[in-house]
């Protein structure tokens, strides 16, 4: 029973990781790539860690739990810093973008 549940979580994590990486290759823009890959890969890796938490003993489970909490805290922080830095560095949005709130806010502050 434990092995079956662990394998199900492992399979979910692998599917999310693969979809995130396909999004990293296929999407047209830095910001699109960032949002697709960061969310999918964070959830996928945390699911793999949950599978290890179910399958392993107490020591492995505690370490996996710490690792999952750490990834859940740091991955969105890194993605936020990176997207803000690339907007400040002047990288353009792709052609079909409809909304750029940070640019509007900068113009309002200048005016």
């Amino acid at each position: 029973m434990k092995v079956i549940i662990s394998n199900i979580f492992l399979l979910i994590g692998l599917i999310f990781n693969l979809l995130g990486c396909i999004g990293l290759v296929r999407l047209p823009d830095v910001y699109n790539r960032l949002q697709a890959s960061t969310k999918c890969v964070t959830l996928g890796t945390c699911s793999i860690l949950l599978s290890s938490m179910i399958y392993g003993g107490v020591l492995v489970g505690t370490k996996s739990f710490l690792c999952a909490i750490f990834i859940l805290i740091t991955a969105p922080t890194a993605a936020h810093a990176l997207s803000r830095a690339s907007h400040i560095a002047g990288i353009k949005l792709c052609k079909g973008s409809v909304c750029d709130k940070l640019e509007e806010r900068k113009k309002n502050e200048e005016a």
Binding site: G13, N17, T38, I48, A75
Partner: protein, 85 residues
């Protein structure tokens, strides 16, 4: 199942390395390096499940820390450099 996982995560690493090699801007390469760091943590966990040794999870924890620090440093570097034409 775990062998299948190694194959899938290797495909993910190859896709990330493709984006590192091809990415038009430096930000694309930084995003791909960040994602690659998170995937390697999953790889370490699978290695620990396969071999039954628990120190691979310590390797994954340290790898996550170093990947986060590296991404923050690279994004600060991008922010200060300014690609205005």
């Amino acid at each position: 199942m775990i062998g299948f996982g190694f194959i899938i995560l290797s495909i993910c690493c190859v896709l990330c390395l493709y984006r590192v090699a091809k990415g038009p801007t430096p930000a694309d390469r930084t995003v791909a390096i960040d994602i690659l760091g998170i995937i390697v943590v999953g790889f370490c966990v699978l290695l620990s499940l396969k071999t039954g040794k628990d120190f691979y999870i310590n390797v994954g924890l340290a790898w996550a820390l170093l990947s986060f620090i590296g991404t923050i440093a690279l994004s600060k570097f991008l922010e200060g450099r300014g690609f205005d034409e």
